[in-house]
Amino acid sequence: MDSKNIEQGIVELIRKAECELPIDVIRALKSAYKIEKGVAKTQIEAILKNVDIAKKTRRPMCQDTGIQTFFVVIGVDFPYIQRLEDLILNSVKKATIEIPLRPNTVDPFTGKNHEDNIGDHIPYITWNFCEGSEVYITVLPKGGGSENMSKLGMLKPGVGIEGVKNFVVEEMIKAGGNPCPPTVVGVGIGGGADLALKLGKISLLRPVGVRHKDKTIAKIEAELIKRINDSGIGPMGLGGKTTVLDVHIEKAHRHPASLPVGISVQCWADRRAHMVIHDDCSWEVK
């Protein structure tokens, strides 16, 4: 087996994310279906039908196949460490044709679409390192409609955690039906501005329904879920009980003068997939 095999593995990773919604998200949508009525129920029903068709026909569940966002943890003894970035880029090009993916990389100055989902800084790859010779990759295809509802609040520390909670609830009410609710909301608190937004996005990697291991934070997550759902915005902003499927929080320590809050919103198509690559180029997609 050679490194070409890794490329095909990453294509399959992207295919899995685009065509198969994770089971935790499906479970949450099915619970929503049970409690919704009227128009809200028709929306969840259409979503569940769509998820089923996508899985059976191996087609992307949403036409917005997103910006390919990779979180890579690479074992420092992995023999192809120097080639991994190229392998990922080639896989994205291949996936664009094979799956297919919608060409989603536009130059902000010329307006030209690069056609292959590759561009400056895109796909977006976050690198982390670990011991050993294996590589762990998570892909999160991130759609534009939900990404447009991202928010950064540089709050005054004096407003405290109550202020943070109010900020998140107000912003999600303002977002209304735009990010394709029911959404998963990732909230990063602390750090600097960039870190808060990054933590918000990283928190989306946690499965739906799993609370933060810190009990205080877990309680705040539960409170935010209730408050946002009580707004009645509902599926697609057409009214209903389910506006969010989950709220995830991650925190960093903050500067004494700052209280950054980064909100990263994921649509109901909370697409994620994971893989491990072994040092002999074999792989498994989970």
Partner: protein, 183 residues
């Protein structure tokens, strides 16, 4: 109420629809996002007949095989981006059914009322469900200039829906009703 409509629809068909109704449409629809709206407003002549069709805010995922295009996944895109064009667009092309997601603003609402048109919401992200209702791809315009998502695609659809009437021709808005409740 649920309605099954054949396009193009007449004035009376639009008048009988109210927010909260669910419709399924059969006929021709065309996609247009930001750039397509802009170019269509600029051009004197359009190479197809928009007035016979519904307008779909959509940037589809398409595939060409043996010279023939087909839709792989084709759900709606966020409509609010088109709000700055839509009143003029409705006036110029006589569109009376718009399909999108997330709702539109004051300007569009007024135009819908004035020109007797409706805005309907299709389930965001339900791309394969939508693509399965597309029977044929009748044409594509400005593909070279704008790329796949921003080009205008003409689709022949059958029983396309469920489309929830979200802004009707009587000036009612499902979003406003909701907002009042939230407050």
């Amino acid at each position: 109420m649920e309605y099954h409509l054949k396009l193009p629809v007449g004035r009376d068909d639009i008048k009988k629809l109210h927010v909260g109704d669910v419709i399924y449409i059969t006929g021709k629809i065309f996609t247009a996002r930001d750039e397509a709206h802009q170019i269509m407003l600029e051009k004197d002549k359009i190479p197809f007949a928009p007035s016979e069709m519904a307008l779909f805010h959509c940037g589809p995922l398409m595939k060409k095989e043996k010279g023939k295009w087909s839709a792989i996944s084709a759900g709606p895109t966020t409509s609010s981006r088109m709000d700055i064009f839509e009143d003029k667009f409705i006036e110029k092309f006589g569109i009376n059914i718009i399909i999108g997601k997330g709702g539109m603003g004051e300007r569009t609402e007024k135009a819908l009322k004035k020109y007797n048109a409706i805005y309907t919401s299709y389930t965001g992200g339900a791309g394969t469900l939508a693509a399965d209702k597309i029977e044929d791809v009748l044409g594509v315009y400005w593909l070279e200039d704008f790329g796949m998502p921003e080009a205008v695609w003409i689709f022949k659809v059958k029983e396309f829906g469920p489309l929830v009437v979200a802004l009707d021709s009587h000036g009612e808005s499902i979003y406003k009703k909701l907002k009042n409740k939230v407050k």
